[in-house]
């Protein structure tokens, strides 16, 4: 199934794209999708901080099960204000 990955801030710059299509097994979790993403872009795993993840605009943990067409956002700890 296809997951629409959106990247923000440092992760967007490391990957050089703000959107990436990611093929995952049906029933894949956010954790599994992140593993696959880091295989394709190893630089993502080499930062001094861990990415946060949101599915369809809601923050989710690594165990969240993805569905075809989900928007998976990947971003560093927030620093607005």
């Amino acid at each position: 199934m296809l997951i629409n990955v959106k990247l923000f801030a440092s992760y967007r710059e490391l990957v050089g794209q703000e959107k990436v299509g990611l093929q995952c097994e049906p029933g894949a979790t956010v954790g599994e999708a992140m593993q696959r993403l880091e295989q394709t872009y190893p630089v993502l795993g080499r930062q001094g901080y861990s990415p946060l993840t949101a599915c369809n605009l809601r923050q989710v943990g690594r165990g969240h099960v993805l569905q075809e067409g989900d928007e998976l956002a990947v971003f560093p700890p927030v620093s607005g204000g």
Binding site: A9, A54, V78, G80, G81
Partner: protein, 145 residues
């Protein structure tokens, strides 16, 4: 008060704090408290020339609505405006504004303080600091979320 009266904005336009203050006030409001975050010329010992804010805008707006709803739950307030700027900001420009109208001052001030704390913890917005040449992303506190 209808929640739809909350003013929630994630915008590349300059924040007009005066307009926000006027928008939140009702004739029954005796107090308007506001907090404005402003770009300053240094951060943790380093000189800052300008900032760039990036937002995951639809999620940021959803989070701002959540924060406004929490403020209403915890304090008796009339109306709330929560606004965050995106894009390039120069020294002295407002990056974030929390404006709260309430019948009484304590509620307005406490809700305002809560609002800015929550924005910094949960809203998906990131800041990149530029000195005279290079820029660097500011990474938030992951335990805060």
């Amino acid at each position: 008060m209808d929640e739809s009266a909350d003013i929630i904005r994630v915008t590349a336009e300059p924040l007009d704090v005066t307009a926000l203050m006027q928008s939140v006030r009702l004739d029954s409001s005796g107090a308007v408290a506001s907090f404005v975050g402003v770009v300053r010329d240094h951060h943790e010992g380093r000189r800052v020339h300008h900032l760039v804010y990036e937002a995951y805008a639809p999620m940021a707006e959803l989070e701002l609505h959540n924060i406004a709803a929490q403020m209403r739950q915890r304090w008796q307030i009339s109306r709330v405006a929560l606004a965050h700027r995106t894009g390039r900001l120069e020294i002295g420009e407002a990056s974030v504004a929390v404006v709260v109208a309430a019948p009484h001052r304590r509620e307005a001030l406490e809700a305002c303080s809560f609002g800015i704390e929550q924005i910094k913890k949960t809203v998906p917005i990131w800041k990149k600091e530029f000195d005279d040449d290079a820029g660097e992303w500011v990474i938030g506190d992951p335990s805060a979320t």
